[in-house]
Amino acid sequence: MGFFTISPELYRQYKDQILELANSFQRDVNEHLPPGERKRGLSDREIAERLGLEERVVTEIRCVAERDYYSLDEWEKAIQFKKQACREYVETKIIRFLKKEE
């Protein structure tokens, strides 16, 4: 392979830890939380130091894991979710009130 990739074994070993430490699942990132509670995800460099890996390896595992985490089904669910949520909003919050004003 002509460009940098990681082995599937290495990927499987670290993907969950890396996603957990990065920005994938953001918990308490908001700035107006009670003092001392604001957190942030780690950079690839920080994760690499913590796990004893090379930064580039962490970057590569993170990139693959970000795509790999949800199956293609989640993309189809996304389409259905948006159609339903948008329609509900327009029907309950907009059309009803526009009709009242007529």
Partner: protein
């Protein structure tokens, strides 16, 4: 010495006023300045202004170009997918960079709106907007401006010394009506529409009028905001490669999902958002986007 300091302070104040005037004249709705040191406590090394531009002193942030009021009330979500984009605010950022370099003689680096690797930005534009006092982070994710709600942002890192604007003391989110809803129903509009507990992206609680224990699933949000974008293309291409039947491969390759993904990613060079449902129901900015 004191006279020299005063003169440089006056020049910096004039430069800042001129930059803000230029930004608004070019179509931005808001403009603010963040000091580079304010990033240190929140952004990791490698994602701070000085990592992008050696000697950086200030970050100018412009916001604007939200979807129009009509876009927000269209029952067809696909319409807003093409209207929700950072491409209209980015030229204003580039014009400010040009102004700082050509008129004021300082280095100015327009922060690319894209990502460096995977989902990591070069510099968080949301953090830049927050630190420049333009809004505060919402439970839903985006920075909310008190009047306009969600905006698109662009940032310029510069060696020009400017007096930073202070971050907001009081958060824009949760809005008063969300506090009332929380008391009544134990949820907020954004959590209700996209709850992490039921296959969505968001969670959190309100205590003493503030959010606590906030949660945001960026990977799931990515499937919604960028359904027909690079991630969707990669996933569907993988499905094509895994499909041994030629006729079935054709159904995927020529089907609506793959075709739309190609339309989206080849219209590249911009950030094309495709999900607005948490912000559609958000009361912040509702007044601005309510028309007759």
């Amino acid at each position: 010495m004191a006279a020299e300091t005063r003169r440089s302070e006056t020049e910096a104040a004039e430069a800042k006023a001129r930059i803000k005037e230029l930004a608004l004249k070019r179509g931005a709705l808001v403009c603010g300045v963040a000091g580079v040191k304010s990033f240190d406590a929140v952004a990791p090394e490698g994602h701070r202004p000085g990592d992008l531009l050696p000697g950086a002193r200030s970050v100018v942030v412009v916001g604007g170009a939200p979807p129009r009021a009509g876009d927000w009330i269209s029952p067809i979500p696909e319409h807003q997918e093409t209207m929700g984009t950072s491409q209209r605010i980015e030229p204003i950022g580039r014009q400010i960079a040009y102004h700082i370099e050509e008129e004021l003689g300082y280095y100015a680096l327009f922060v690319p709106g894209g990502v460096s690797r995977g989902n990591q930005p070069f510099l968080s534009l949301m953090l830049a907007a927050e630190l420049a006092g333009l809004g505060s982070r919402s439970l839903a994710g985006p920075i909310l401006h008190a009047k306009y709600g969600m905006l698109y942002y662009a940032a310029v890192v510069t060696t020009l010394p400017l007096d930073p604007d202070p971050p907001l003391e009081t958060p824009v989110c949760p809005a008063p009506s969300c506090l009332e809803m929380w008391e009544r129903e134990g949820t907020t509009p954004c959590i209700k529409v996209c709850p992490a507990s039921a296959g969505g992206c968001l969670d959190g609680r309100i205590e003493n009028g503030r959010f606590v224990r906030t949660q945001y699933d960026r990977n799931r949000c990515h499937t919604r905001v960028y359904t027909n974008w690079v991630g969707g293309f990669q996933k569907s291409l993988e499905a094509v490669l895994d499909e041994p039947d030629k006729e079935k491969r054709k159904m995927i390759l020529h089907g609506s999902f793959f075709t739309k993904s190609l339309w989206s990613i080849t219209y590249s060079g911009q950030c094309q958002a495709q999900c607005f449902e948490c912000i559609r129901v958000c009361p912040v900015g509702q007044e601005y986007r309510t028309k007759k």
